[in-house]
């Protein structure tokens, strides 16, 4: 490994948070392109090692290899972070894609008040406050920790949300099932008696 790659490995080992390339360049008194080259070298050199180099949350960080997860939890007695509940992941999805967004907006989209899920996400450090709406409601946005835990470099790296929109066919099917599915069977189904007004 080049001297720069070695020093970068040491710096990332010492930093508890992802470090942007320009801060690494300033600390090593080099230029960002040199840093990026040396990081590529470091990433290759870590092949076969127990550490991995990851670019996320606007910077670079070292993490332990996933194979070490079980032994590490035994050694450090660190419990596995609980999975996200459906309500939490929905609330987080709305915040991630619409940030900054207020609780009433989240509730309107989800069709249900989301205060408990939002509080849990705040406690877990995945979302944070982002000022207030013109009506005084607190707005929420995602945090760097969110990016780190979800393996994202930036919020812009989130996949296009439009891909989960129902296709025109699915939308049609949904409409049909809501409005017309029963009508086609009307008369055949035993329930289909004229209803008393």
């Amino acid at each position: 490994m080049s001297p720069l790659a070695r020093i970068l490995q040491a710096l990332l080992f010492l930093s508890s948070e992802p470090v942007p390339a320009d801060e690494l360049a300033a600390a090593t008194e080099t230029e960002a392109p040199d840093v990026l080259g040396a990081l590529a070298e470091l990433g290759a050199a870590l092949d076969g090692h127990g550490l991995v180099l990851r670019e996320l949350a606007g910077g670079w960080a070292l993490a332990s290899d996933p194979d070490a997860e079980e032994p590490a939890r035994r050694l450090l007695a660190r419990p596995r972070t609980p999975a996200l509940t459906p309500a939490q992941s929905e609330t987080l999805a709305v915040v991630a894609y619409l940030q900054p967004v207020s609780r009433p907006e989240i509730a309107r989209i989800r069709g249900v008040a989301s205060d408990s899920a939002a509080s849990t996400l705040l406690d877990r450090g995945l979302v944070e406050e982002a000022g207030r709406s013109p009506f005084g409601a607190i707005l929420y946005r995602t945090t760097p920790l969110f990016l780190k835990l979800f393996g994202l470099r930036a919020v812009e790296d989130l996949p296009d949300v439009g891909q989960w929109d129902p296709s025109p066919e699915e939308e049609g099917a949904l409409r049909d099932r809501l409005l017309a599915a029963g009508a086609a069977r009307a008369g055949a189904a035993p329930e289909a008696q004229p209803a008393a007004p």
Partner: protein, 240 residues
């Protein structure tokens, strides 16, 4: 037994009413006609109660949505020709609104599933948690320079002094039509013998129609009047 048991609905797995509705509507083997919506409503309310505190807002929202679904279902249960007739009478707006909200919700349900997966993918990576020494977390007093603008603090206080605009209640004026007034009108007409409901509300607005119907129910309860309607949406004849 109730269809909820047949459906084996585990309400804990649903993230909210939209989630539940989408699941019900999209369930392949399920026809809306066969879902006992009353059971779903009761199960949902039970579920909310089991949570310890009854979230009135969530329950209300859920009941509104269920009402929309119920309306749709009742339309489906009517024979074909009456559906067409109903189409003119019952605008599909409520259904369209429900559909639009379900579609908007579906996008975030998909995004949520993606995020849950990304979270699972990220979980096996562990991070070193060696804290930076405290003295490195703050600036030394001697070396500190003015980097923050005091105006941000004054601005923040200004924002915190803001009160929400008082609710505009002007549109909630007292109804200009009272039950007492309509009772007087109905009793006046009754003295002449029979009359039709249309006659009693001729020229009146929706509020008048509503209050008059309420007054009529009041008369019925007291035994002062009865009425008949030979067919749905036909003329209502009121008689003493």
């Amino acid at each position: 037994m109730s269809s909820v048991h047949r459906l084996e609905l585990d309400l804990d797995v649903f993230a909210g009413p939209f989630d539940l509705l989408l699941s019900l509507v999209l369930r392949e083997e399920l026809d809306l006609l066969e879902v006992d919506l009353a059971d779903v409503v009761l199960a949902y309310v039970d579920h909310l109660e089991r949570l310890g505190e009854l979230d009135l807002e969530a329950t209300t929202e859920f009941l509104v949505l269920m009402a929309a679904l119920l309306e749709l279902k009742s339309r489906l249960m009517l024979p074909g020709e009456e559906v067409e007739e109903l189409d003119e009478l019952v605008p599909a707006e409520a259904a369209d609104e429900l559909l639009a909200r379900l579609l908007a919700y579906a996008r975030y349900r998909g995004a949520a599933a993606h995020l849950r997966e990304a979270f699972e993918d990220g979980r096996p990576f562990l991070w070193r948690e060696a804290p930076v020494p405290g003295e490195l977390r703050r600036v030394e007093l001697d070396r500190a320079e003015a980097v923050y603008d005091p105006a941000t603090l004054a601005g923040a206080v200004g924002g915190l002094l803001r009160r929400p605009a008082p609710l505009d209640l002007r549109h909630m004026r007292t109804p200009p039509v009272t039950v007492a007034q309509r009772l007087a009108v109905l009793r006046g007409l009754l003295r002449r013998g029979r009359f039709s409901f249309d006659e009693a509300v001729a020229g009146g607005d929706r509020m008048t129609v509503c209050v008059t119907l309420y007054a009529l129910l009041e008369l019925y309860k007291r035994g002062e009047a009865g009425w008949e309607q030979p067919e749905p949406f036909g003329e209502i004849t009121v008689a003493a």
